[in-house]
Symmetry: C2
Subunit: 315 residues, 2 copies
């Protein structure tokens, strides 16, 4: 059985693969034309994935190394009955810490202090009036999966009230309440933080649009650690420049890298992180552990045991 | 009974004071020479406090509006048997949130992202390798009072191991262990974060000096939310420039405002906040609540009921 590796595998984990009877690991650089119809498994994905998949006539299982799989050709997977698993779960810790980092960077004056530092400015009086404690603030989290739930737990620990939104309006105990999936914020609700963690699907594409931002009445902070295309970027810019939003922290964008001429770079109440919210030092090891479980399960039973993607739902 | 007000009191709280029989509130601007020997209580303190205190021959109780009271003439308080209370406790929430903000600002790449933003730089690959989750990291907190304990609670929630140091080496259940108060880090201990919350006394003056920083073996981050003079500033700068420290986040300084020519402004691995870590929007109301309790208690019993400062110990 041959595995095509499109990601990074540590020497220790390469040894683990070698210990499996009859398993051969092939890196992309070493892939020969005669391998194409012998590849059974693909680990990771990259820009050449779509083109490669057409040639890999024999592939049965692909392990992505991301939680979102919107960038893979899901229809082709479905037609060819290829199993797909994601790495949902391992991003929950780093992403939820990143969300806490965003909230506190603004509430505790870190962003402004760092901007003043450049000019050696000691703006104590001004900042003392603007900083505040998060206790009692209200957050609304779109998406109540692993990531959204980890965020809810952290925000509760900091004394916030946390509401959630999910597609089927099902109760998740870590949230104070679950609101239905609707295109605007109910007029009787006010939130200080709007946080997106949803996967990208036809239902969530451009969900955060002009209509959504216009329904905000009390200038919340907006955070996107989900998918870039869930946000209509021009609507976000309008909301920020028209003070419908107090501030924003954005990790994922419709176009990445964020184009050099994007107005978002210029707005001083916007924190931009370059798609790093889910990264962590031991990411590669954690991703491999999921692949390892699924590979062994597939060899023994023909099924993957964890994180199988529903190809119709898209996550 | 006359109260000299050196801080801010809301209109509602001024009404509460008026409701007390025979109590008169005098603001500094309205203070007349003939009031001097009639002032019983002082609320707050400022640069003129020391000079005023000599003239206020009748004063019996001073309510400071800070946790640390090192800037008040404690010897004169002691000689004249003037009661002093601080506002210890109300800073615990904002300061502990600030410490979490500092840790996460570095661990989640916020500081670097914000520095790259100025040049519209999308440094995703570089930052993905440097960000990490706080879980499993080790922190050492100097000072295990309200503030240190609140920090320990927050850091535990983020998965850190938290050790504490206090003067009498007494157990505090919120810490994993308590280390003795010693001038260096024990050679068998390694910490990722060193956090100072100690009051300023003769024992803590320049506690963090060349000798202390030289005892660090694994480049921790250093955080000071205690008192500026607990740190020998030139030793701190040497430790940062000689890579004994990985980074620092400093809220309090030996000289405030931090002088324009301080090398600290120039170091890009140092976060400077202008003495704002303890501030919060409802700070004035919380401080007044402590004063209100102590004022009523003093009128009824001649004692203050909360936050009395030990004038010998200095906190």
């Amino acid at each position: 059985m041959k595995i095509l590796n499109l990601f990074n595998i540590s020497p220790e984990n390469k040894q683990r693969l070698k210990s499996l009877d009859g398993v051969e690991l092939i890196n992309l650089d070493d892939l020969k034309a005669y391998d194409y119809n012998q590849i059974d498994f693909v680990y990771g994905w990259n820009q050449r994935g779509d083109e490669l998949l057409k040639k890999l006539t024999h592939v049965k299982f692909v392990q992505s190394i991301s939680a979102g799989v919107d960038y893979l050709p899901l229809n082709e997977f479905k037609q060819r009955h290829i199993l797909l698993a994601n790495t949902s779960g391992i991003h929950a810790a780093p992403i939820s810490e990143t969300v806490v980092a965003y909230l506190l960077a603004f509430s505790r004056g870190i962003i402004w202090s760092d901007q003043f530092k450049e000019d050696h400015l000691w703006e104590s009086d001004k900042l003392r009036k603007s900083v505040f404690s998060l206790s009692g603030q209200r957050a609304l989290v779109y998406g109540t999966g692993n990531i959204g739930t980890a965020i809810a737990i952290h925000l509760h620990q900091l004394g916030l009230q946390v509401s959630g939104v999910n597609l089927h309006h099902h109760i998740i105990p870590e949230f104070d309440e679950i609101l239905p999936f609707q295109p605007t914020i109910p007029s009787n609700k006010k939130f200080d933080y709007i946080i997106n963690t949803m996967p990208l699907t036809s239902k969530t594409y451009h969900f955060f649009d002009d209509k959504f931002f216009s329904s905000l009445s009390n200038q919340p902070m907006f955070i996107n650690v989900g998918r870039g295309a869930s946000v209509d970027t021009s609507a976000l810019i309008t909301a920020l420049t028209h003070c419908l939003l107090k501030s924003a922290a954005i990790d994922v964008f419709e176009e990445e890298p964020l184009p050099n001429d994007s107005p978002l770079w210029q707005l001083n109440n916007v924190l931009i992180t370059p798609h790093i919210s889910g990264a962590s030092a031991d990411y590669e090891l954690q991703a491999f552990d999921i692949f390892w479980q699924n590979l062994n399960s597939f060899i023994n039973t023909g099924h993957v045991s964890v994180n199988k993607v529903d190809l119709v739902r898209g996550y």
